[in-house]
């Protein structure tokens, strides 16, 4: 495909800071500054950065859950407009970091997964699709009638994945999908994501501060600092041969196991 599926042009997002006093000048926090990304179908892009680097803001902008103050986001060559989001929403879905807060505590799993099917007017049998996607994320059918607080962290995250995949999107944006999980569960969920992305031919945008997670899932990476992209390229070359000072710092800071020295 020639047209990138998702693209940003000089994307910028500023936030107004609380005024110091009534007469003081309005200060701005530049959360995202002049970001240019091009994502082709089938890409697996990682967005690396520390807290405050702007990566979550960028994710929300990519999903049109927030409006840019400058620049634009294009989907399939068309600029994203607030009107007529139906098709875009069906194609691009998100998984959040904290499985405790990303699932409505008052809904059972079956209702949680049904929601995107209803809102996006999914044109096949909803219950059949729910069953199908539960199988894909390797969850027992009995889980459908449980509430989120009755599930473990790993199970909740699988439900979040199932919800994202329910309407058959082509792009998956994952914001720190495993950071809140324990180490062993983390591995299981990452492998599940890997499998699903392969099987379903999804395009992945993965946001994380954890370099090893990015290394596991992404073939391309951009590094963000203070709202700007300071380095980008194939994961291998960025991690193997970091050019920017900050990238080198990030890589050096990963704790090393003693015996492997």
């Amino acid at each position: 495909m020639n047209t990138p599926i998702l693209e940003t042009h000089s994307l910028g997002r500023d936030f107004k800071l609380p005024r110091a006093s009534v007469t003081a000048k309005q200060q701005l926090r530049h959360a995202v500054v002049d970001v240019n990304i091009s994502i082709n179908a089938g890409d697996r892009l990682g967005i690396v950065g520390e807290s405050g680097s702007g990566k979550t803001t960028l994710a929300k902008l990519l999903l049109h859950l927030d409006q840019p103050t400058s620049g634009s986001v294009n989907f399939m060559g068309q600029k994203l407009q607030s009107a007529d989001m139906g098709d875009f929403r069906r194609q691009v879905q998100i998984i959040f970091q904290d499985p405790r807060s990303s699932l409505d505590p008052r809904m059972i799993v079956e209702q949680i997964i049904r929601e995107p099917l209803e809102c996006l007017n999914f044109n096949q049998n909803h219950q059949a699709r729910i069953d199908e996607v539960m199988q894909q994320v390797e969850l027992d059918f009995v889980i459908q009638s449980r509430y989120p607080h009755e599930l473990s962290g790993g199970q909740r995250q699988r439900v979040a994945i199932a919800r994202a995949l329910a309407a058959k999107p082509s792009v998956l944006v994952a914001d720190e999908p495993v950071s809140a999980l324990d180490v062993l569960v983390r591995e299981e969920v990452l492998q599940l994501l890997n499998r699903l992305i392969e099987q379903l031919g999804l395009t992945l945008v993965l946001i994380s501060h954890d370099l090893s997670v990015i290394a596991q899932l992404c073939d391309k990476v951009v590094v963000m600092q203070n709202g700007r992209i300071i380095e980008s390229g194939a994961t291998q070359s960025v991690f193997g041969n970091p050019q920017h000072q900050f990238t080198r710092q990030l890589i050096a800071a990963v704790p090393q196991l003693p015996t492997l020295k």
């Binding site: 962290g153 090893s212 090393q256 196991l257 492997l260």
Partner: protein, 268 residues
């Protein structure tokens, strides 16, 4: 007699056993790690030692610190220990500090409780402590409120509070989990230096094996309240005995390998 002797410690909440029959020893200046997932009981161990278990917990066994039996002490007696002999750094720097109190005052609270210093001496000591934990511009920082500091800085304040009275035992519970990886590295370095300088015994609790491995010599692996393995770090990596330990060691290795293949490919 060792500095810290934990013997057959069992902690229960009603019918649920969160720590089962745990025993380990520490000599003065030793560094001990406790690794386990959430729900494995690792935080409960720390709370038991420092005497902050919730009222609904029932416990049995013994914890002897410098010969004194901690589990039989009342809250008043325990508070003489807390801060002066044993102190703790918690996971969440945001919630562990009082948002309405200046940082310097919070640091000197243990000093006022235990050492009875004058206000001027306290201020001087607070500035000194801020410097030793690596906080920039100590004179200004002591006047700051927690929300004005970054996560890493807050955690350093937590450290300063913990070491204010030169405790013989420092317990840190997931001190860097909420921090960025570059900040984590610095904070861990700071903990390392402090512990070495004052020959403080250290108990480091975490779920992250690579992080713990850089900080301690001996480690206990917790799973669902049971200590499934206790060994030196090198023994754990070379020959993990228990199934669970094997899995986490293998996983840590695999993750590391995946990462280093990038870095080695560049140099080759």
């Amino acid at each position: 007699m060792k500095f810290l002797e934990v013997n057959k410690l069992t902690i229960k909440f009603g019918d649920k056993t969160v720590v089962n029959n745990l025993s380990f020893d520490l000599a003065a200046g030793d560094r001990f790690g406790v690794i386990g997932e959430s729900g494995s009981g690792k935080t409960m161990i720390a709370l038991a030692i420092i005497g902050l278990l919730p009222d609904s917990a029932s416990f049995s066994g013994s914890i002897r610190l410098d010969g004194e039996e901690l589990l039989s002490l009342g809250d008043k007696q325990m508070s003489a220990f807390r801060g002066s002999k044993v102190s703790m750094v918690f996971q969440e720097p945001l919630t562990a500090l009082n948002p309405l109190m200046r940082v310097g005052k919070q640091i000197t609270q243990p000093l006022r409780n235990h050492n009875r210093l004058s206000a001027r001496e306290c201020l001087a000591r607070a500035i000194e402590l801020c410097a030793s934990v690596g906080l920039p511009d100590p004179e200004q920082t002591v006047r700051a409120y927690p929300h004005q500091l970054s996560g890493g800085q807050r955690q350093r304040v937590g450290l300063a509070i913990a070491i204010a009275c030169n405790p013989k035992l420092l317990i840190v519970d997931e001190p860097t989990t909420a921090l960025d990886v570059t900040v984590q590295r610095e904070v861990l370095q700071t903990i390392n230096e402090l512990v070495k300088q004052h020959s403080t015994a250290l108990i480091f609790i975490s779920h992250d094996l690579p992080v713990v491995s850089t900080m301690v010599e001996t480690i206990a692996v917790m799973q669902s309240g049971n200590c499934v393995e206790q060994a030196s770090m090198s023994a754990l990596f070379d020959q993990p005995q228990h199934e669970y330990s094997k899995r986490i060691v293998d996983l840590a290795r695999a993750t590391q390998n995946r990462f280093t293949t990038f870095t080695t490919k560049a140099t080759s």
